[in-house]
Amino acid sequence: MRFESSDSAVALRDATRALLTAEVTPAVVRAGWPDGDLGTVRTVWRKLADSGVIGALVPEQSDGLGLDEEALVPTLERIGHSGLPLPVVETIAVAAPAMLWHARLGDVVSGDAVVAIAQPSLREESPLLAFGQDCDLALVLGEDDLRLYERSELTLEPAASIDGARRMARIVAMDGGVVLADDPAAVASAWLRGVLGTAAVLVGLSERMLDMTVEYVKQREQFGVPVGSFQAIKHALAAALLSLRFAHPPVLAAGWALATQAPDAAVQVSAAKALASEAALRIARTAIQCHGAIAYTTEYDLHLFAKRAWAMAPSWGDAAWHRRSIAAHLGL
């Protein structure tokens, strides 16, 4: 018995990390914001495609890597950590493996087309579409089918997200579209992959915020000492690390559960998302408080990651939504 990532998971993660470290600078994250140069973002995306990541869940005969969810999770964490402003989870974890027979799969795997996914919304007549303003394709998870739309088949209206780099839109009207799958199992599987991927990204974001804060409090001095030497700061950051370190194994385990089609995979994925969402929200709050005033300025980079966390924690089912679903599973 062992609890550790597979060799393919580690290899993919390490290769991707090297690429992300070199390419996804904070300037690239800012390029996703309004008036940013989206071209630089797309350039990074194509480099990721060259490394094979986008087709991670696509079989080798379709030019993918033929890996499973377990192998993908650590890599999604790294992409989350980088802050890359694109529909990463949507495209890699959900859309690509659902498009196996579709003509546009090649464009997706090659990095030429990114896919946004409609989220359920309180205003059901006009669902939210994160990264919708600049997507090439959009996937809609219906009750029992998956439909893919070309960007040109959608009427969108821009909507501002708290995270400007999410380039949010609302779908005002849809026309055409292609049914990718028409069975509930396919929808469930797409949903679980989206939830799991979002949990992985939240783990990466949490790690990024915590790392930035630890670095900052080591060098920032007040009262003649680093603020990181104050017990209040130490204990706040210890609690942050605790929530991150205990959210992480359930996310890895959920990847393995999906990959092995474990009977309780849905519960494990819900557990992962609930824990990762709570950890990210808590760490965002702690990171801002431990930074102090500088965190409250947009010139400093922390807000780029905190806003992504605030946007993603409630998406794909917030923590309470997933806890309700676990409660039902427990017969509560």
């Binding site: 309180l122 708290i162 007040q222 965190a295 300025t297 917030d318 309470a320």
Partner: protein, 320 residues
């Protein structure tokens, strides 16, 4: 209470509380004059010369001059006594030459004037040798650079002083005694004046309305927790105002206010975000209010500093 001859209304603290409550219930916005009225004005009443009072207060009350607070510097946030901006004496011109940088100056980009601390005696210790200056932001040598806050507001500013000259009549209180003068303002910033209950009563009302549109039992419980805390803040404030009017209030108690309203404001907005679910990330009054609320535990003395004050001054725990 602000006398009529200085542009005020002679209102009592109770009348002011009532005004605030009505102001917020009417849905009125935060005031650009806030830092002048709540932080500088009390100090001018206490330390200003008659000439300063006549010159500054009526224009402030009429919102002709907008005042920004120049406390923080890149190296002096929680540790206010680490201020390094300094003023050199210029006997010839009868005034002082200011050099240095103030930062995180709330609404600095929109203001016309700044009040702030500058070091006038570099040989004196940390809290000593500071002087309280009043500076028009169009003074030659002063540059204001606005920058964006978390909630997208452009109101923050760096204010740079490059040998900016101000005359003696712009010194508030005695030279080298700026710290004592400033502490009066810091007390009022933390306490009652900055956060009247009205603002939170109004927010709780909006939260209840949001929950009425659809909520689970768990969410309703959170809403009532915020509602209760707002009610507690209101009653605590009434108790405290009674103490202030009677002259029995302890100044460190203002740290209790600051801790409570700032945590409450975050919690209230987090509950709203919870209610909004996937719509929470969409720009709107709640998401903007959430981002704004996160500044509360940081500005006007971080909550870590406030808890130190509560523990040491109210509970009597040892400093070291």
């Amino acid at each position: 209470s602000w006398p009529e001859r200085h542009g005020g209304r002679d209102a009592s603290l109770w009348e002011w509380l009532i005004f605030e409550e009505e102001y917020w219930l009417a849905g009125a916005p935060q005031r650009v004059t806030q830092n002048g009225i709540f932080l500088l004005a009390p100090t001018i009443f206490a330390f200003g010369t008659p000439d300063q009072q006549d010159r500054i207060l009526p224009r402030m009350a009429a919102a002709q001059d907008l005042w920004a607070q120049g406390w923080s510097e890149p190296g002096a946030g929680s540790d206010l006594a680490a201020i390094s901006s300094h003023a050199e004496r210029d006997d010839e011109r009868g005034g002082w030459v200011l050099t240095g940088q103030k930062t995180w100056t709330t609404r600095g980009a929109f203001c016309t004037h700044l009040f702030g601390l500058f070091r006038t005696d570099p040989s004196a210790g940390r809290h000593r040798g500071l002087t309280y200056f009043l500076v028009a932001l169009d003074t030659p040598g002063v540059t204001v650079r606005g920058f964006e806050r978390l909630d997208g507001d452009e109101g923050f500013a760096d204010v740079f002083f490059e040998e900016a000259f101000v005359t003696d009549e712009n010194v508030l209180g005695a030279v080298h005694e700026g710290w004592q003068v400033a502490m009066a303002t810091t007390g009022s910033e933390r306490g009652l004046t900055l956060r009247s209950p009205g603002r939170f009563t109004r927010a709780a009302q909006r939260l209840v309305e949001l929950a009425r549109a659809g909520s689970s039992e768990r969410q309703r419980d959170l809403v009532v927790q915020s509602w209760l805390d707002v009610r507690a803040y209101e009653l605590f404030t009434l108790q405290q105002v009674t103490g202030i009017v009677d002259g029995t209030a302890v100044s460190a108690e203002s740290s209790l206010n600051k801790l409570f309203w700032s945590e409450l404001d975050v919690q209230l907005h987090e509950t709203a975000m919870d209610l909004l679910g996937p719509e929470a990330e969409v720009d709107g009054p709640w998401s903007r209010g959430f981002l704004f609320s996160l500044g509360g535990p940081i500005y006007a003395g971080t909550n870590e500093i406030q808890r130190n004050i509560v523990a040491e001054r109210l509970l009597g725990l040892p400093r070291k």
